[in-house]
């Protein structure tokens, strides 16, 4: 634990010294990963899958606020879908517009969740999102995660059923739109995931706000366990075909990531907890103060010891008289 805390302090120090470059690098990497994932999943327009073009777009995103990346990603998705089918693009644009108009206009800072949730879903660790948001945000963020899950399932559906979507058996555009909307928005797996994540965010938030010891650890464990239980029940009740192996693996990876998050955001020493009680004219106060763990980074001192053959002797050799004096003192101390 001590090593981890020292590592954390080193990392914090490093970030404080280079925050400007690290922030820009993070924005670049995030944009590049998101754009590449979009191009790999929806590669209908080949000219937009060029890695140099995507890297160029990511460089532009480096100098924009993070919501600029969200807009670029939305534009990329819509252009790719336009190549597949104009109806699919129109429906997706309408869904995205509703999300922006009715929610993200009020909480623009949460728009990054729209990028991270589909990314976590694609990496098979979606369970980290509700736990992380329950630990760091408010239950309202369940709407952001829900929107992110919806975006992921739109992309996923189009990827899997691209041929069916573009050349749907139905003849007219209205029927094609209806077919797409029904299949995307009535996807049981998506609805189950949105419900599970909403429950997990609320429970994690409620537990981590409690004052009992190790509340963050309990919140993480309860969140992931609840996630698992809801998915299993959903699988049995609605037959949504969930891969239990991936569910367990994803939950374990999410647990590791959640503990890393906890290390950086909430490290306290419960053994030094203090409780005080006092009162004023109106209230009695029961205050519990838990000290934060802070670890100073040990300074490294380099001591060079030169001995043996071939090593240079930099020390001044003692004169003979001084050497004799030292010998005499040693003998005196030894009682000889």
């Amino acid at each position: 634990m001590k090593t981890l805390l020292v590592f954390r302090e080193r990392l914090k120090k490093f970030y404080a010294q280079n925050s400007m470059f690290i922030d820009k690098a993070f924005q670049f990497v995030l944009a590049l990963v998101v754009f590449t994932a979009i191009s790999n999943s929806l590669g209908f327009m080949k000219s937009l899958t060029n890695p140099i073009l995507l890297a160029g777009l990511s460089v532009i995103c480096m100098f924009l606020p993070i919501n600029g990346t969200v807009l670029f990603a939305a534009a990329l998705i819509l252009i790719q879908l336009y190549k597949l089918s104009i109806e699919v693009m129109a429906v997706t644009a309408a869904i995205m517009l509703v999300m922006f108009i009715l929610y993200f206009r009020f909480v623009p800072k949460q728009a990054i969740v729209l990028l991270l949730t589909p990314l976590a879903c694609a990496l098979k660790i979606p369970y980290i999102m509700p736990v992380a948001l329950g630990l760091t945000a408010t239950p309202l963020s369940m709407v952001s995660v829900g929107c992110g899950v919806m975006i992921y399932y739109i992309i996923h559906y189009v990827t899997v059923y691209a041929a069916g979507v573009s050349t749907a058996d139905e003849a007219d555009a209205v029927s094609r739109v209806s077919y797409f909307v029904q299949n995307v928005l009535q996807n049981k797996q998506m609805i189950l995931m949105i419900i599970a994540f909403a429950i997990v965010i609320t429970v994690v938030y409620a537990i981590r706000r409690q004052s009992f010891d190790h509340s963050w650890d309990f919140a993480i464990a309860a969140g992931l366990l609840l996630d698992f239980v809801v998915f299993v029940i959903g699988n049995i009740a609605f037959d949504v075909k969930i891969d239990y192996g991936m569910l367990i693996l994803g939950s374990i990876l999410s647990l590791i990531l959640s503990l890393i998050l906890e290390l950086f955001l909430f490290t306290v020493d419960y053994s030094r907890t203090k409780s005080v009680q006092y009162e004023d004219d109106e209230y009695y106060y029961y205050v519990k103060a838990v000290p934060k763990v802070s670890m100073s980074v040990p300074e490294k001192t380099v001591k060079r010891i030169n001995h043996g053959r071939g090593s240079q002797h930099f020390e001044r050799p003692l004169p003979e008289e001084e050497e004799e004096d030292i010998d005499r003192e040693i003998r005196k101390k030894a009682g000889r």
Partner: protein, 143 residues
């Protein structure tokens, strides 16, 4: 001459000006009623657009079911339902917009007040320094 107090205040002011300052100065230049009113109107317009989009998506989703039960009574029911849904959504959003933008205006006013107070302190520090320099100049002249 470098003054530590002056540098601290100037750093605070620069953080504000180069951060959220310009936005907050603009917000605080409105009266609260005007600022909240403008945003409530724009929210209402956005809600109209959002609701139309929701209806289009919902309509596309249930088009076959809707076409199957299309009678005059059901059309009236649909219209009433659509209007009631719109009224509920609009009311909820207007309440939310009022709370959200009132809070935003209050915070902006508070921060701008703090900013002006720091500007005044800076001005006072400059005046004190000028007076001290003038006094020192007079003393040299007398000698």
């Amino acid at each position: 001459m470098l003054s530590e107090d002056r540098i601290k205040i100037m750093t605070d002011l620069a953080f504000f000006e180069q951060g959220s300052g310009s936005r907050k100065l603009k917000i605080s230049s409105y009266y609260r009623r005007d600022y909240v009113g403008i945003h409530m109107i724009s929210t209402a317009l956005w809600v109209v657009l959002g609701y139309i989009l929701l209806l289009v998506i919902g309509g596309a989703m249930f088009i076959t079911q809707i076409l199957g039960v299309l009678t005059v009574t059901n059309i009236v029911r649909f219209i009433v339902l659509i209007i009631a849904g719109f009224a509920v959504l609009l009311t909820a959003y207007l309440i939310m917009a009022y709370t959200h933008y009132s809070r935003k205006h209050r915070i902006a006013r508070r921060d701008v007040k703090k900013y002006y107070a720091e500007l005044r302190s800076l001005e006072k520090l400059y005046e004190q320094e000028d007076r001290a320099e003038a006094a020192a100049g007079n003393l040299e002249g007398d000698q």
